[in-house]
Symmetry: C2
Subunit: 197 residues, 2 copies
C-alpha cells in the first residue's frame, strides 16, 4: 500500500485560496499568485511539480472540482481542459450522484457521495501500490488531516500575503509533523512534512 | 547603516504565541514548543541562533518584555535573568516612562513612550553600522512589517499546530517577499525572506 500524500500551495500567512472565490476567480482574489512558481519556473521546480501528479489516485473536494460552478452541473468536467494533468482516477467528494466521467489521458472523475472515508478506500483500491494524493481544496485537506490519514504533506509556500481567504490547518487538532525536505526558488519555498500517527 | 531584521518563531498554522498568555506561560498554551529547536538542538541550529542575537540594537514590544507582568512594574527587568542574551541596547515600546535599566553583559533596556518610529530611529543610532533587530512580539513585528521598514524576515517554523493564539502577518498589507535561504532540522524549518520596498 502506498502513502497518502497532499500537495498544497499556501501563502506565508496560511491561506490556500484568497477571498471571494467565484467562477471567474476560482482561487479567490489574488489566489492565482499562489501558483506563479509552477507556471513561471517549471524547470526550476520540476521535481516538485512531478511529485504533485505522481500518485496512482486522487481525491478532491467539490469546491476544488467546481468552485463557483456548482458540482451539480452535469456538463461540468473540471478546470483542467480535455486532458487533465492527473492521468489517473480522481474521486470527487460531492452530494450529487453522477456517472464517472472519463477524460483524455487516463483521468476519470468518479463522484463519491458517501463521505471522505469511503472515497479514501476507493482511491486506495484504485491506486494499488502507488500513493493516494489529496488534491484539495482546504476543507478537504483539513478533513483528512483531522482524520490522521495523511502521511506526507508537501507545502508550497508562495512568498505572498493574501490577508484573507481559506486557511489550511483549521480544526485539524494537533499533528506530529516532521520537516524532512526543504528547497526554494525566489517564487516558492517547498517544505515536505512527514506526519506520524 | 545596517539592515532591519526580524527573527520570529512561528507554528505551521501561523501563530507566534499560543492562547492565554499569562505570567506562568508568557508564550501562551503550547507556545514554548515553538522554541524546542533552540533548547534541544543548539548545535544543529547554531547558525540560526547566532544570527538572532547578532544585531547592534533591538526593539521589543511591551508584551514581549512583560507579558502577564505589566510593563508598569518598576522592578521588572524582563524574562532573561541578570544577563540577557542581547548584549546590546534594547528599546522597549511602552506607555510608561522609566529610566534605562542596565543589565550584565551589555544589555540595557530603554523605554520608549513616543512610538515605533521613534524607537527605530533611536535603535538605528545605537546600532551604528550594525543591524537593528525587531525582537517581537507579534503586534510589534506586524506594526513594523506594515510600516515597510523590515529588510529581512527570518521565520523559524516549528512543526506544530497551535490552533489559536497571536498571528503574524495580520493587517500588514501586501509585502514583496523573496525567500533567499532555507534549511531544516526535525524540529524547525528556517526560512529567510528578503523584503523589497
Amino acid at each position: 500500500m502506498g502513502k497518502v500524500t497532499c500537495d498544497i500551495g499556501i501563502s506565508v500567512d496560511g491561506f490556500v485560496a484568497g477571498p471571494n472565490q467565484r467562477r471567474e476567480e476560482p482561487l479567490g482574489d489574488g489566489g492565482e499568485r499562489l501558483h506563479r512558481w509552477m507556471f513561471e519556473q517549471p524547470e526550476a521546480n520540476a521535481a516538485a511539480i512531478e511529485k504533485i501528479t505522481s500518485a496512482g489516485a486522487f481525491i478532491m473536494g467539490r469546491n476544488m472540482f467546481a468552485s463557483g460552478r456548482g458540482d451539480w452541473d452535469p456538463d461540468w468536467t473540471g478546470w483542467w481542459g480535455e486532458e487533465p494533468p492527473y492521468h489517473a482516477p480522481v474521486f470527487v467528494l460531492t452530494h450529487y450522484e453522477r456517472e464517472p466521467v472519463p477524460m483524455k489521458g487516463g483521468t476519470t472523475f468518479s463522484f463519491v457521495t458517501d463521505g471522505a472515508e469511503s472515497a479514501l478506500a476507493r482511491a486506495r483500491r484504485a491506486a494499488g501500490e502507488a500513493d493516494v494524493a489529496i488534491a484539495g481544496g482546504a476543507q478537504t485537506v483539513n478533513q483528512y488531516l483531522a482524520a490522521g490519514v495523511i502521511d506526507e504533506l508537501r507545502l508550497h509556500v508562495a512568498p505572498i500575503v493574501l490577508g484573507a481567504g481559506e486557511r489550511l490547518f483549521e480544526d485539524v487538532g494537533d499533528l506530529a509533523l516532521e520537516p524532512v525536505e526543504v528547497s526554494h526558488t525566489d517564487l516558492v519555498t517547498h517544505v515536505t512534512y512527514r506526519i506520524g500517527r
